[in-house]
């Protein structure tokens, strides 16, 4: 048998990294259109329909306003505590959703994996793009809230864009890692919400870390936590809060280095997803 037929090529040869990235790039439209449609489908059967993408974060803000401003009248020593809280929570939620979504990206799409050949990283990436798209209305709600609480737009607001890019890259890394773990260690789904809750409490979402921790070195070390860095940078840009250089260094390092390792980690199992 002449195996050297030049017009035929061998199936199942593992793609090189550049080939893999090229395949991903070729499917980029999938990663945007499909999750965008899923978001659309989410609220299709509700009375208010797509309005919910705005109403949901707005309701969240309203609850915090009611609890902290009206009922408790607390500010925990922070100017514009409502703004502080809303920025923290919404940015944290974005990462949390990508991670949780990433963990089920493989099991949820088993049917697709079994019937169509494509780079599997497309699935956690779609989780990321979907959640990022869904975050845009929340960003709008955030802006309105800030204006209402007296934090008016400054040039710094534009800096939220690079912060979001860095966050997206860190989320990508998290999503890829979770996608592999979620596919192989199904128990993860049970423990993950608790881990996220823990992360919520150690990322300075509800309180200002500087006010709780006296030791400055320890405060700087908090920057090792990428979520803390994201939230701090977002507060810096939107609320004019302080953010030390370690925050920016952390953002750059996390967002540049981790996605590569995460992709390699994810790809190491490429052939076993859905099996």
């Amino acid at each position: 048998m002449d195996v050297s037929d030049p017009t035929l090529h061998l199936l199942g040869v593992e793609r090189s990294s550049s080939g893999y990235l090229r395949d991903l790039w070729e499917r980029r439209e999938f990663a945007v259109v499909v999750p965008a449609n899923d978001i659309r489908a989410q609220n299709m059967d509700t009375l208010l329909g797509q309005m919910w993408h705005i109403l949901n974060p707005a309701a969240l803000v309203a609850v915090y306003w009611l609890v902290f401003d009206v009922l408790l009248k607390t500010s925990r020593g922070i100017d514009n505590y409502l703004g502080f809280l809303v920025v923290g929570i919404l940015f944290f939620q974005l990462t949390q959703r990508v991670i949780l979504d990433g963990a089920i990206a493989i099991p949820r799409n088993e049917g697709l994996i079994r019937s169509i050949q494509f780079p599997r990283a497309l699935l956690p990436i779609s989780s990321l793009t979907g959640q990022t798209i869904a975050f845009l209305p929340a960003l709008l709600v955030m802006a309105v809230t800030l204006c209402l609480t007296g934090a008016y737009p400054t040039w710094r607001w534009f800096m939220v864009i690079p912060v979001l890019v860095a966050q997206a890259l860190i989320n990508l890394a998290g999503g890829l890692v979770m996608a592999r773990l979620g596919a192989t260690v199904r128990d993860l789904r049970e423990i993950l919400p608790h881990l996220m809750r823990l992360l919520f409490y150690v990322s300075g979402i509800l309180f200002s870390v500087e006010r709780v921790i006296a030791n400055e070195t320890v405060v700087s070390l908090m920057a090792l936590n990428p979520i803390y860095s994201i939230v701090s940078a977002a507060r810096w840009s939107l609320l004019g809060a302080d953010a030390g250089s370690e925050i920016w260094l952390s953002l750059v390092l996390w967002s540049v280095i981790t996605p590569w390792f995460a992709l390699r980690f994810f790809r190491a199992h490429e052939h076993r997803y859905g099996a």
Binding site: D2, T7, A41, G111
Partner: protein, 622 residues
């Protein structure tokens, strides 16, 4: 060699391909496993064993074989979806599998789903948009393209899926049972599309149980069995050979069928009648077989409503069986078919892990329907009957939903829906008390599980009366399986109560008892001889081969004996399997019979088995 034109015209070459996959064993796991340091065990399932063939451009190839023969696995391997154990697959370009159904979003419109499906297949967005009109026209969905997919009938979905997959002309198109759900007009249209693909030097591979479809649309057919390629050649020849092999199986199934709704001593038409034809055909020529199989695959759905099953029980039962089967070295579906009583059972996602063929059955009617369509379009074969059993279906749906099921099955293209009530289970007692509760208006038709404790003898007459008066069922098939342990008593009970004659086979009256008692003897002997499933299997196979060569043994008797021998194969595994089943639900006589057999080794020779088989054979002919 390199100048050989045919060599350069190849679209696909499959070279000695082996595919296997791991399935989790359903053993304890959990805390105990963690502490004992024992990993969850997996078992290697060999689905494709050394298959080679070539496909030229412009050719269409059909793949036939029973469920579990490895057809679909081979197809998945051809898309590059499954890693090969060994061997190579060479392709001109990556084949397109007609399987976009998996990405379809039921709540979105057909139009949006065309985009999603096209993107999933790797088409650029611009190209999908430019072809949108053609795709819609081909699918014949101009009217309803902006309605949500969930409002589509299964035929509409199938049409849309096919239209998307063939939106661009694929160089190699793989189709897995996808055309079975469309109507005849769409079938014609898709046929033309396939011809177009072939005309542009594309190659098409179709996996199907619809033999007439394959005979019409393929210029070559390969036949697979247990992962191996049995035959490769012109469609009519291969299909005829396959048909001849399947004969025995049909005769087996046709053994005992009565129609209680008729209330007379008539043997039911349908399978029994078919078996009659079949027996005649055996006397004349084996070539008639394909026609008969086509009869068999006429669109009659048999809806197996397991009034005597609970979901828990079926799950445990199936798991244990699946394990037993693997233990014996068989693939699951072949075993299920042989056993006649479960052809397909779907209960949630557990199936995927346990290696069972399909999985469907959701919590609500809509999910159930979606799953069903999915299964029907991909994998459902009309060669077999179905067991439809999910918690939702068996316990929650009322008569209205049953009507909906029937409407749906009709829509899919099945003309008749039967309800089949299996009587061979010990759970019949529960079924009985359930029927009494029904008669008293205390229970709904599908909540048998609450009646498991009652220990009364079954009043068959009332049971059947109730079923035949039920509006939701056209016809009640009662199937009795004589090769099951303990069956003769049940058959007696049944016939006494209903006044029906003892069931007969197509070629004259058969003593129902004989095959069963012989079967038990076989188990005893073979169990004594063989310690594990593998050697039992080998012995069983030798027996069957020898029987086939024996002049005095009729085909019919052969199948009875064969199934007896087969039971021997499995019996060795049952004890092991039984250990996997919860004590609480360990009620089935299938296992207990296997356990009750003596375990000491006894003398067993092939000649002794042949002598036993001859008894079975003469009994069958009497």
């Amino acid at each position: 060699m390199s100048t050989d034109i045919s060599e350069t015209q190849l679209a696909l070459r499959v070279d000695n391909v082996h595919v296997g996959y791991d399935a989790y064993e359903d053993s304890a796991g959990g805390i105990k496993g963690l502490f004992s340091g024992e990993r969850r065990r997996t078992r290697r399932i060999k689905a494709v064993r050394g298959v080679s063939f070539e496909l030229e451009r412009g050719q269409s190839l059909g793949i036939i074989g029973s469920n579990g023969s490895g057809k679909s696995t081979l197809l998945a391997a051809m898309t590059g979806l499954l890693p090969l154990e060994s061997g190579e697959i060479w392709v001109r370009s990556r084949p397109t599998l007609l399987g976009v159904g998996a990405v379809m979003r039921p709540s979105l419109s057909g139009r949006r789903n065309i985009i999603i499906g096209g993107l999933a297949l790797g088409l650029p967005l611009a190209e999908i948009k430019s072809r949108m009109r053609d795709v819609i026209a081909f699918a014949g969905l101009e009217e309803s393209i902006d309605l949500p997919m969930r409002s589509y009938s299964s035929g509409m979905r199938a049409r849309l899926m096919f239209a998307i997959a063939t939106a661009t002309t694929p160089e190699i198109l793989l189709i897995d049972e996808a055309l079975a759900v469309g109507d005849s007009e769409f079938f014609q249209r898709s046929q033309r599309r396939i011809d177009e693909i072939r005309a542009t030097a594309g190659a098409v591979v179709i996996v199907s149980h619809n033999l007439s479809e394959l005979e019409r649309s393929c210029d070559r057919v390969i036949w697979m069995d247990r992962g191996e390629l049995i035959d490769d050649g012109p469609p009519d020849e291969v299909i005829a050979a396959y048909g001849a092999k399947v004969n025995g199986r049909i005769a087996d199934e046709a053994l005992l069928i009565t129609d209680p709704t008729a209330g007379t001593d008539e043997i039911d038409v349908g399978t029994a009648e078919l078996a009659e034809e079949l027996t005649e055909s055996d006397e004349t020529e084996g070539a008639v077989a394909p026609v008969l199989i086509r009869e068999r695959t006429s669109r009659t759905a048999t809806l197996h409503i397991g009034t005597d099953f609970t979901v828990d029980r079926i799950q445990h039962y199936l798991r244990a069986e699946a394990e037993a089967i693997r233990h014996a070295g068989f693939s699951t579906p072949a075993f299920l078919r042989r056993r006649n009583h479960f052809e397909f059972v779907g209960i949630g996602s557990e199936n995927a892990a346990s290696g069972l063929p399909i999985s469907f059955g959701g919590d609500d009617w809509a999910t159930w329907r979606d799953d069903f369509i999915n299964v029907a379009s991909r994998q459902m074969s009309d060669e077999f009957d179905w067991v439809i059993s999910s918690e939702a279906f068996a316990t929650r749906l009322g008569p209205k939903s049953i009507q909906a099921v029937r409407d749906f099955l009709n829509e899919v293209g099945f003309d008749r829906v039967h309800a089949v009530l299996y009587l061979q289970r010990q759970d019949r007692l529960a079924a009985h008390s359930h029927v009494q509760a029904l008669a008293a208006g205390l229970s709904d038709p599908f909540s048998v599980d609450t009646h498991l404790d009652a220990a009364t003898r079954c009043d068959w007459r009332r049971l059947i009366e109730w079923w035949s008066n039920s509006d939701s069922i056209d016809q009640l098939d009662v199937r009795l399986f004589p090769d099951r342990p303990g069956m003769p008593d049940i058959v007696d009970d049944f016939c006494d109560a209903t006044g029906l004659p003892q069931p007969r086979s197509a070629d004259g009256p058969v003593a129902v008892r004989l095959p069963s008692s012989e079967a038990v003897q076989f188990i005893e002997k073979i169990n004594g001889e063989c310690e594990d499933g593998e050697s039992a299997r080998a012995l069983g196979e030798r027996v069957v081969l020898r029987l086939a060569a024996e002049p005095g043994v009729e085909p019919f008797a052969l199948t009875a004996a064969e199934s007896a021998a087969l039971m021997g194969r499995y019996a060795a595994s049952n004890e092991w399997a039984l250990a996997q089943v919860d004590e609480a639900i360990r009620v089935d006589d299938y296992f207990s019979v296997a356990l009750a057999l003596p375990t000491e080794r006894t003398e067993l020779t092939i000649d002794r088995i042949l002598a036993l088989a001859a008894v079975v054979g003469s009994g069958a002919r009497r």
